[in-house]
Symmetry: C2
């Protein structure tokens, strides 16, 4: 399983992914799910994946082949805006579907993959998309300035309660890490290390790429103090007096 969250805020973009991939709990491996494509000052794109690893790796490989090729009419390097970038990712998903879906079906395996794609191309504002297995996609809005993929439910309540478009980037990063902590505590198949990436509006480059492992002092602080703070808040609420 996987947990990734991307946030689109007034000040920029925040991305957080875990790195655990599993095929049953006795076969757990670590793969990076955060892909960074960057030409500083001109364009920056972050792509996070969840679902069947064989599918998502092939999608990313196709995208990289297009980017490396001089003949590719459209690739993430030459699309004029982020909407077209989302279409390129969706088309890559459909290409992999055409190759693999039937063979997978013979083994009872669903064609399942999800992508969060965000970034900024100079001249536009930063944008954030979620691309589905079918290659279609949606864009974030003021009302819902974030997307989650993978094991999304445990970590959703805290985001819904605190995230707004005007939330500053460090506060949003804190929110993403607390959301990840709640997910890791409740689901064995989501795990460290994490990749946290921050992009500031109009810089068109990665401002921060922090790899967070079990020794990271800030994440250790979050893990211990958030649980404590929750328990304290809980204790301070009165009990019901129904008799």
């Amino acid at each position: 399983m996987t947990y990734c969250v991307g946030m689109n805020l007034d000040d920029g973009l925040v991305f957080l992914s875990d790195s655990r991939t599993n095929a049953g709990v006795d076969n757990i491996n670590t793969f990076r799910k955060m892909n960074v494509f960057e030409r500083p000052g001109e364009r920056v794109m972050l792509l996070m994946t969840s679902g069947n690893l064989a599918i998502t790796q092939t999608v990313v490989t196709l995208l990289k082949e297009q980017m490396a090729s001089h003949d590719a009419k459209l690739s993430l390097w030459n699309v004029p805006n982020m909407f077209e970038a989302a279409r390129v990712v969706g088309d890559a998903m459909r290409e992999v579907y055409r190759r693999d879906a039937e063979a997978l079906q013979h083994f009872g395996v669903d064609f399942s993959a999800n992508v969060v794609l965000g970034g900024q191309i100079f001249g536009e504002s930063p944008r954030l998309f979620q691309v589905y297995s079918a290659g279609n996609f949606i864009e974030s809005t003021e009302e819902t300035p974030y997307f989650q993929i993978g094991e999304t439910k445990y970590g959703k309540p805290i985001i819904d309660r605190v995230l707004r478009p005007e939330t500053p980037l460090p506060v949003a990063a804190k929110c993403a890490l607390i959301s990840m902590d709640s997910t890791i505590r409740s689901n064995l198949s989501v795990g460290l290390p994490l990749d946290l990436v921050v992009v500031r509006t109009n810089e068109c480059k990665v401002a921060i790429h922090q790899k967070v492992d079990a020794e990271d002092p800030y994440f250790r602080m979050i893990r211990s103090r958030w649980g404590e703070a929750l328990r304290e808040a809980f204790v301070h609420l009165p009990e019901p007096d129904w008799q």
Copy 2:
């Protein structure tokens, strides 16, 4: 959808269920999911259901027919202990499976139903079970003194963080209501009114059965103050200083 939680604590049992049932978001109805079977001082049993309403209603009806019949060898009224009660519920589930599963399959409908069954029969300690669609079941333990059915994930983190076997009953009820609040906020298809039932150890009867609707002052307090407390705890954690 549904959210129900049952807790087995040193001081007794706590049960909380919502009452919303839906077949698509344009067809949402209210059905009670909390069934109370009680002969005060001798036995008390609570049964909460999730899944396909046609299945769970039939299971409950079968159980009631057995209880009303003078010929039934085994019913919830005459089983000698709660383990046998769980078997009676599992057998009723299998009976409905034999009748309905094939017809449901023709319509692509999974045979899906889950039951939380808890209670006390005089002479035993209070016990808590989860019965699956297949009629098999598990019992709660010291390490996991609760079961959830339905839309379980949003409301799980707070239970994992605060519930222990020694938690007093009013505190456990508060925990169940906060867990329900997180679920209702994140999932449209879980809704008020709620049924909250408390059974005290060795009383073998319902101590409290509170119907909680949108006007309930305690639940209103929980809804507003828990969100506030979370946001305050969030604000008080420092932000990362990665640069």
